[in-house]
Structures are given as structure tokens and as C-alpha cells.
Symmetry: none
Subunit: 205 residues, 4 copies
DNA sequence: GATGAATGAGCGTTCATTCAT
DNA sequence: CATGAATGAACGCTCATTCAT
């Protein structure tokens, strides 16, 4: 019974891995279900046993990856003290996860997020769970005084995530920069300054 | 002769407007050429006289809109002095153009930019032309001392554009915030602080 | 009035000449009406003023060419005495007309004759008129005793026309022989022997 | 395994038979793939599994029929001695095959052979293989002295095939003669005389 | 359960024909 | 009369999905 379940889970994972590769390579529309089946070493029928339809297969990918990423992030954050140190680590993890999972980055940024129904998917909720960690760091930073008290958390999240993902898209499509992680320090500096408590009174209106 | 040309250009525009609406509504794949034709009040044949194929029709949209947006931006920037004032205006224009052209925002962010071949399209070049203006403002700001000398222009552009567009995507998909422009001031503050000359020595490494 | 008629006839001829070239080059199906119009230097509308539809245009070609060929043949036959001399001349004319009107040969053999409705067209009747001359020569030859009395005229015509046209098809498609007319003598020999009075008793059954 | 293969071959044959009928009835252009599918009792998808496209389906017909016809001919020729007897049998087989496969005759003479690319198809090579048998008979006849030593084999083949096929075309389009085979004797007589050794010196030049 | 052969709805595109100018 | 821009019916082909084995 357990074995059957394991087999089933294993098979799901194999299919999802194959789908990740094919979707990343060809895009959702041009990806062929039979090619995914071939890559996974299963029949098309098996895919339709496990998944509702092709779109369900796409959506199942983040439902597998994001929890894994969240777990990995949680492990990495362990033992780190101080909001800024956590912030830097979060930034590093974000970039690192994209850099070491290029196919996933492709799927997330080119297939999943631009989907009009994205905000109604489970993936969206999972991502919010992931970025909740970012919000927590912001809050901790505010208490520490390293982030501005009045900072709008969501706005900060948009700028942080949007900025990183915009860079990642250029990395995916143009291959620049060679290593995503090379931007870690500069991004850390910019974002901490952006979100920091520094007075904005210096600039004339 | 002139009339013929005008008619032709007018018809192109009518088709492009219809395509903009339908593509925004249904997405490229689910949009039907005959529906675009119907909406434009022309036959399918007319569309294929003017455009190579369905994809060409999609690509023709930014090739029309971006120059228009660039022109509009240029007009708006006229008479503004000072890098920060220009910066604020650029930010406002960016948000304003999305807010007042929701369909265009949808197409650009959900169809055009996530296309794997985006960086090889004319649209990409046009957008770079548009954001060149942003880079110029950054440079002017550096000379004025309001932006940090060592700031990486491209990185700043990524954060600026990525941040704004991430917000816009949520606005498109969730309807939040109600008015994109409501973020203008807060974004101005964050970005100017982010790109400003303020010492980063204050933070321990 | 006469001038108008002449203009009209001239225009018809120009269109037919253009159609002959394009149909020969591309085949009926792949030929485009607008290309014929362009080649003829007229508008598509003009073609449809003059011809019912695309198929009518095809059928109008033999209705122009065959009478011309018949006239040319008649002139060539003038002053020739003796069935065998006429036979040889007819053979030569047939080959010569194909060789010097390659486009026409292409149309006749690849487009007109293989048309299922060919036998119901005017072209068919015109061709029968043309080959009537061949039958007359056969009859004359029978009276002279150079052709076998009991020869079935239609059968002889099939063998003669079929043989020549089969050779012509290979000439069209393969470019062999280089000159159709090079076969004149050998064909003359074979056909005259085939249709000649020679006893067939020589062969055991 | 064998069964699968048999099924596959059987299905191919069913489709080819349906295609033969529909192509013969309507011609290649007016034949509809879905009609062929319906006639064959399969879906359009199945046709496109087995054949590249509609044209491939057309070309696959001779690639099936000609080898069958060649085999049938070979069987019929067994045990026949003497070039003239073989010649008569070959003639009979040619007419008989057309008469008993009217659809095939239609396809071959109206669709396949008039195709400008015919000489570049596999069908052309197969037909050359078939008529090779005719050439062999001619050669044997020359050795026996019943055919003229100097006869050009290809020219003889053109006249023989061209003549027969011209008759067959009239039979297809006009229904005359009622039975193709009724011409066997007369054609035999004409062709043997045509290709025979008889002096041609009898005719004045 | 697993398979993969079979399905058939669905759509982009073409081009002969028309008709307003 | 001549034009050629506009039409829209028509069809080959694809591929996600199903289901008999």
C-alpha cells in the first residue's frame, strides 16, 4: 500500500520533471503532451490519470516546486540573526534558486505568472506564502530600525520581487548577467537603501 | 493617393485596435482571427493583406504603441528642469500610460514580454529606445549629484521597470491598487532613495 | 465600333497569352488569377469581364490555339500530293507545333486532356476537327493502297496521337529528346508500316 | 506483434483503397480528406498518422498498385514461349489491368502521369520497372527475328504505351469502346507490324 | 493499472470572385 | 468601362483527450 503510494508519488514526480523540462524548452503552447510522456517514460494515458489536463499539468509544477523552495529557504535562514542579514540571505536564496533551476525560472516567469488566471491558482497562494517570509523580514527590520517604519510592505515586495525577476528574465532571454548571483551585493545595497529609514527630506519637492 | 494611404493606415489602425482588445481579453492563443476581423469590421482576408500572419499582428501592436508612447512621453517631459523632476514625471508617465491603456498593459506584460523571442523583436528595440530616456535622466541626476555616481544604470532600470510592472501585473490581475497612479509618490520616494547618493556605510556588513 | 471590337479581341488575346504562360509554368491549380492579370497588364476584374471563371479561362486557350494550329496545318498541307507525303507532313507539323509551342504542349497534355470533363468541352470538338484531317489522309491512303483497307481509323488515330503525345510528355518533363522533330523519320517509318497494307499472315497465331 | 503489423498494413490498404476511389471520382483537388476518411471508416487523424499529407496519400497509391500489377503480370507471363506470344500477353495484361481497375486507370492517367513532378516520383521508377518487361520482350523478339533489329526500344515503348493509354483515356471519359480488351487483336496486329522486320523500302520517299 | 492508437473538433490561411468607385 | 480592395467560404492539418485492450 505504501509502496503503491510511493510509486504513484514517484511517477507524478517523474512526469512533473519531464513537463518542467519540455515546458521550459518549448513553452506551454508548443509543448506536446506526447513528448512529455515520452520524456517521462510513461504513456499519455498515465499523464491523464494523474492530471486533469495539460493546463493542470502546468499548474502542478509550482505546487511541487514552491514548497520545496520554501523548505530550502527555511533551512537556509536557520541560525541567521538580524533583519539585514536575513534580508541579504533571502535575496541570495531568491537569485540562487533561479540560477540553479533555470527551467523553473523559465516556467515561473514566462508561463505561470503571465497567465491571466494566475491569481486564482494555488501557485499564487503558495508564492504568497513564500514571500510572507520576506514580509516578516521587513517587519523585523522595522522593529530593529533598519527599515523605515512607514514602508508599505506590499510595495516593497513588488519592487524587490519585480526587480529581481526583471533581471532574471533578461538573464533567461539574453544570458546576461552570466551569473545572477553576481548582482547580490549591489542589489542588497540598493534595496536596503530603498527600504531604509533614511530621511527623504533631503530632496526638494 | 493621399486618401488611399490614409485609408490604408486607418484600416491598419482599426485592425490593430481590434487585435489589441481581443488579444488583451482572450490572450494570443485563444484569440480567434475571425473574431478580431469581426471586431474590426473587416474580413479575415483584409487582415492577411495587412499582416503576415496572426503572430505578425501581435508584434505589430507594440510597433505602433511604443512610438506613440515615446512621443507622448517626450511631450510631457518638455520644459521640466532637474533630474528629480524629470524622474518623477517619467515615473508618473509610465504608470499613467498603463492605467489609461489597460489593454496595452495586458498585452505588453502578459503576451509580449514573456515571449521567449521577445528580445529578438523590434518591440524590444523600441522599448530600449523608450527606456533610454530613463537612463539619460539617471545620468543627468548623477551629474547633479542626486543619484549615486557608481549606480549601475541597467540595474537601476531593471529595478525601476521591474517594480512598476510587477505592481501593474497585480493591478491587471487583481484590480489592486484601484489607481496605479496612487503609488506615484511612494514609488518616487523609494526609488530616489534607492538610487540616491546616500552613504551605504551605515550598515554593518 | 470596329476599333472597340478590335480592342476587345486584342485584350482577350493578351489575357489568353498570359494565361497560357502562367498555366504552363505553374499548372492550373497553382496558377493565381491575379498573377495572370498582372502578366497581362490588366486588372482581375477585366479577366472576369471577359471570362466566366478561372476554368473558363483555361478552356478558352485551346479555343484560340487549335483553330490557329488548324489554319497553319492547312497552309502547310497545300500543294502536297500523295497520302504518304501528306502523312509525313502531318506528322512533322504535329511535332513541330509542340516543339515550337512548348507552353501550349504543356497545357494541352497536362491540363486540358487529363480533365475529366475534357470530352464535353469545345476544345475536344476542335481537336476532333483537327484530327479529321488525319483521318482524311488515312482514307486517301487506303484508296491509294498505301494503308490497309480494313484499318480502323479511330484506332490508328489513337496510336498515332497517343504515341506522339507520350513522346512529347517525356520531352516536356525530362527534356528528352532534345528536339522532338528528330523523331520524325523513325516515327514515319513505324507508323506507315503499322498502318500499311502489309500482310499480317506472316505471324503464327 | 504480427497482428499489430497486419492491422497497420490492413488499415493502410483500406485508406489507400478509399483514396483510390475518391481521387478517381473527384480528382485530386476536389477530393476532400475527410471524405476519404469517412469512406475508409477511419478518422482524418489516422490518415495523417499513416501519410505525410494529402499529396503523399496520392503518391502512395501507385507505390502499392504498380508492384501488385507487376507481380500479376509476372505470373501471367509464366510458361509463355516466344516473343510474339509474350508480346500479345503483355498487351492483353495491360488492357486487362486497366479494364478491371478503372479507378486505378483514372488515377494513373488523369492524376499521376500529368503531374509535372511525375518523373521525379517513385511511381515513375516503378513504372519503368514494369515497362522494362516490355523492353525485354522487344529484345527477345529482335533475336528471334520477329522485331526489327534497328528498332528504337524507347520509341517503340512510347508508341505502345501512348497508344494504349490514349485509347484507355477515351474509354474512361467516353465509355468507348465498351470493352478495352476488344481491341487486343487489332492492336496486336498493328503493333507487331509496326515493330516487325518488314522492309520499309516499299514506299517511295 | 497502463497503454498508445484512434479520434474529430477546431482554426489559420488562401484565393477565386465581386462590386463600389 | 476598368479597377483592385475587399470578401468569406472552404479545407488541410494538428494534437489534446479518450478508451478498448
Amino acid at each position: 500500500m505504501n509502496k503503491i503510494n510511493n510509486n504513484k508519488i514517484a511517477k507524478r514526480d517523474i512526469i512533473l520533471t519531464a513537463a518542467l523540462e519540455i515546458f521550459a524548452q518549448k513553452g506551454f503552447q508548443k509543448a506536446r503532451v506526447n513528448e512529455i510522456a515520452r520524456r517521462a517514460g510513461v504513456s499519455e494515458g498515465t499523464i491523464y490519470k494523474e492530471f486533469e489536463d495539460k493546463e493542470d499539468l502546468l499548474h502542478a509544477i509550482p505546487e511541487k516546486i514552491i514548497p520545496e523552495a520554501t523548505l530550502e529557504l527555511t533551512l537556509h535562514m536557520q541560525g541567521i540573526k538580524g533583519a539585514l542579514n536575513k534580508f541579504r540571505k533571502f535575496l541570495w536564496c531568491y537569485l540562487h534558486f533561479f540560477e540553479s533551476n533555470r527551467d523553473w525560472a523559465t516556467i515561473l516567469l514566462l508561463q505561470i505568472k503571465p497567465n491571466p488566471k494566475f491569481t486564482q491558482t494555488k501557485a499564487y497562494q503558495l508564492i504568497r506564502g513564500f514571500t510572507r517570509i520576506f514580509i516578516d523580514i521587513l517587519e523585523e527590520g522595522k522593529r530593529e530600525g533598519v527599515f523605515k517604519e512607514s514602508l508599505d510592505n506590499n510595495l516593497a515586495r513588488h519592487i524587490f520581487i519585480g526587480g529581481i525577476e526583471h533581471i532574471t528574465m533578461r538573464w533567461l532571454l539574453l544570458g546576461k548577467p552570466e551569473h545572477l548571483l553576481s548582482y547580490t551585493d549591489e542589489l542588497f545595497e540598493i534595496f536596503t537603501k530603498a527600504f531604509g529609514p533614511g530621511g527623504d527630506g533631503g530632496y526638494p519637492d
